[in-house]
């Protein structure tokens, strides 16, 4: 206890350098813990991109492809699913609801999805449903709803006229000018890929392509699938919810073994997790960088303690004269570095919490990243323990030096 107060006051005596040292450790710890918090926030947001949907079903192909093309609006679909197949599975006794997705057109680099009212009813992200900032869902084949990014980037609002282009590219020379749409609603910001897409009715897309065909417009890309008049065109995928979630796996197996049409059914939560594991390796890099900054902070502390030793030889001699053994001197210095590390680590954590408390609403509004003030996780405790014990451990270096010089000096430091 005496030693602790001695160490504390010794640090206080070199207040400025102690504060700077603790601050550098605090900043590196804040970086480490902050990255951990942001990482968890990002993972939460990512996992929340789609919720409540039990299966996503597309044409036979890669699972990532199905996820990317339907949920993220990236890559191209594996192929198409016939309307009959869709209806067959929609009527399956285990299925509660379905959302059909028809992809294939774009508007100035934004994807257009033909779907039904079920999308607005059943689609969930982060446990929220799709709502409108203004207007309403498309009600007929001339109306289209747009995501908030689309509205912002292109300056659209309810009532704007939109002409679609064939194909998924950003630039297309084949415009469906014969069938313009009117914006019926702007979807409230979701911070998911929904914000970057447009949503028409299934009939809207069909009608557009039919008008195109009859008006003899330019058409590039694959020709439309030949079908009897009145028959629904194929879709690219569909989402479904089960009546009983325990039946999901059974249903998935049945769909993957569909004899009439080859399908791939994926569980979105699982597929998201797999995808995260692929792209999430970047977080390891972040963590390594943060650990290096902690290392730099600790080295700074050793340097500061070393630099102070020269001016403290007199102090060591006094302590020796009043009967302090080398062990006490070593303990004093080790305790000082341990205290610096502890104070730094505590301040670093406080900094992170203060920062999150101050910025969380702004971050959520700007990036849709829900940072939570959750208590420290086991990984974070492990980091803190690592920082404090490493800080104490590196204190042994200057302590050893002080021990050596106090033995050599005896009671008369050679100044």
């Amino acid at each position: 206890m005496f030693l602790l107060s001695l160490a504390w006051r010794s640090l206080g005596n070199r207040r400025l350098i102690s504060l700077l040292t603790a601050a550098s450790i605090a900043l590196s710890v804040a970086l480490l813990v902050g990255i951990e918090h942001v990482r968890m926030g990002v993972r939460e947001s990512f996992a929340g991109t789609i919720r409540g949907t039990d299966l996503i079903v597309g044409a036979r192909g890669g699972t990532t492809q199905v996820l990317l093309s339907t949920v993220f609006g990236m890559s191209v679909p594996n192929g198409s699913v016939s309307w009959a197949t869709y209806e067959r599975w929609a009527a399956h006794p285990a299925v509660k609801w379905t959302i059909p997705y028809a992809l294939g057109d774009a508007h100035r680099g934004h994807r257009v999805i033909g779907t039904t009212a079920a999308f607005f009813e059943h689609y969930r992200f982060r446990d929220q449903s799709v709502t409108f900032a203004s207007g309403k869902a498309p009600a007929n084949d001339r109306e289209i709803a747009i995501g908030s990014d689309v509205a912002e980037r292109l300056g659209y609002s309810v009532g704007s006229k939109v002409t679609l282009a064939h194909g998924l590219g950003a630039v297309s020379f084949a415009e469906h000018e014969a069938h313009p749409f009117t914006v019926s609603g702007v979807i409230a910001r979701t911070f998911t890929p929904i914000d970057r897409a447009l949503y028409s009715t299934l009939d809207g897309l069909t009608a557009m392509h039919d008008d195109e065909a009859t008006s003899g417009g330019l058409m590039m890309g694959p020709p439309p699938v030949a079908r009897a008049p009145g028959e629904q065109p194929p879709i690219t995928a569909f989402l479904l919810g089960t009546k009983n979630r325990f039946e999901t796996l059974q249903l998935q197996r049945e769909m993957n073994e569909d004899k009439l049409e080859p399908l791939t059914a994926i569980i979105p939560g699982l597929a998201l997790q797999q995808l995260w594991q692929t792209i999430g390796s970047a977080e390891v890099g972040l963590r390594v960088v943060a650990l290096f900054t902690v290392l730099v902070g600790l080295i700074g502390m050793v340097v500061a303690l070393y630099a102070s030793l020269e001016s403290r030889r007199r102090e060591m001699a006094i302590l020796r004269a009043v009967g302090a053994g080398p062990r006490l001197i070593v303990s004093l210095l080790v305790l000082e570095s341990g205290l610096l590390a502890l104070v730094g680590a505590t301040a670093g954590v406080a900094l992170v919490y203060a920062g999150i408390a101050a910025a969380r609403s702004a971050v959520e509004a700007r990036f849709g990243l829900a940072l939570t003030l959750h208590p420290l996780g086991s990984a974070e405790w492990a980091y803190l323990a690592l920082v404090v014990s490493a800080g104490t451990l590196v204190g042994v270096l200057p302590a050893w030096r002080a021990y050596r010089s106090s033995l050599a000096d005896g009671l008369s430091p050679k100044l």
């Binding site: 005596n13 004269a321 009967g323 006490l328 005896g410 009671l411």
Partner: protein
């Protein structure tokens, strides 16, 4: 262990007894070669020598911080050269007072805390305070050394003379058997030096402590019971000066 040996020795043994001491710093030649020196209990001894005569080294040996190559160092009846370094540290904390030439004080402790430092480090020394608690003893000593009003000041606010008196108070708390002073007056002007010596002597007498006082200033010698010329005693220093 140390308190037992000192307790047995406390009544009859001399304060300091050196026999055939040879000491060399690591890798160097002998700086101390001293056949015999004895200082009695409660004696005030002036140890005179120019710089380079091995004064500070000798004090290091008395304090048990340095260990001779050969020979025995006995302080208050305890053979320091036979103890482990930890036991020597404990012995020093318990039985010795040490006053430096200057910079006697830990800068981040108050005057009171500096005075009580030996009692914090040695429970045996604290136990020796007769009835009074550590704070009261510090206040008493401060009063006798005319620094009572400085007790709660930071040491950085003190003049050199005041610092030296605080150093004496620390050396004398718990009445150690031996007080060692290494040129404690060299930074004081003559008026302050005289008053300082008066106070130092009075306190040592009160505590019954032997005093070993090292200085190159021979004008102080008259005030001590005994003067030892270190160059005459230390053959290594003579050799060095001749060589």
């Amino acid at each position: 262990m140390s308190s037992a040996t000192a307790g047995a020795a406390g009544t009859s043994s001399p304060a300091v007894e050196l026999r055939d001491i040879r000491f060399a710093y690591k890798g160097g030649r002998d700086v101390i070669d001293l056949p015999a020196l004895t200082i009695g209990q409660g004696e005030r001894c002036f140890l005179h020598g120019p710089s380079g005569s091995g004064k500070t080294t000798l004090l290091g040996l008395l304090a048990g911080v340095l260990v001779p190559r050969t020979g025995t160092v006995r302080v208050l009846g305890t053979t320091l050269s036979g103890l482990t370094s930890g036991a020597r540290d404990r012995f020093r904390a318990e039985h010795l007072g040490y006053v430096f030439q200057m910079f006697n004080l830990i800068p981040y402790l108050s005057v009171r805390e500096n005075i009580t430092l030996p009692c914090r480090l040695s429970p045996a020394r604290r136990a020796r305070l007769k009835g009074a608690d550590v704070g009261a003893e510090a206040a008493h000593l401060a009063e006798r050394l005319e620094i009572a009003e400085l007790l709660d000041k930071p040491v950085t606010a003190l003049s050199v003379g005041q610092q030296q008196r605080v150093g004496v108070a620390r050396a004398l708390i718990g009445a150690p058997g031996l007080v060692v002073c290494d040129e404690p007056t060299s930074a004081l002007d003559s008026d302050r030096r005289d008053r300082f010596l008066e106070l130092l002597f009075a306190r040592c007498e009160e505590a019954g402590s032997a005093l070993v006082f090292v200085s190159h200033d021979l004008s102080l010698a008259a005030r001590f019971q005994r003067t030892v010329e270190l160059p005459e005693l230390n053959k290594a220093a003579v050799r060095e000066m001749v060589g």
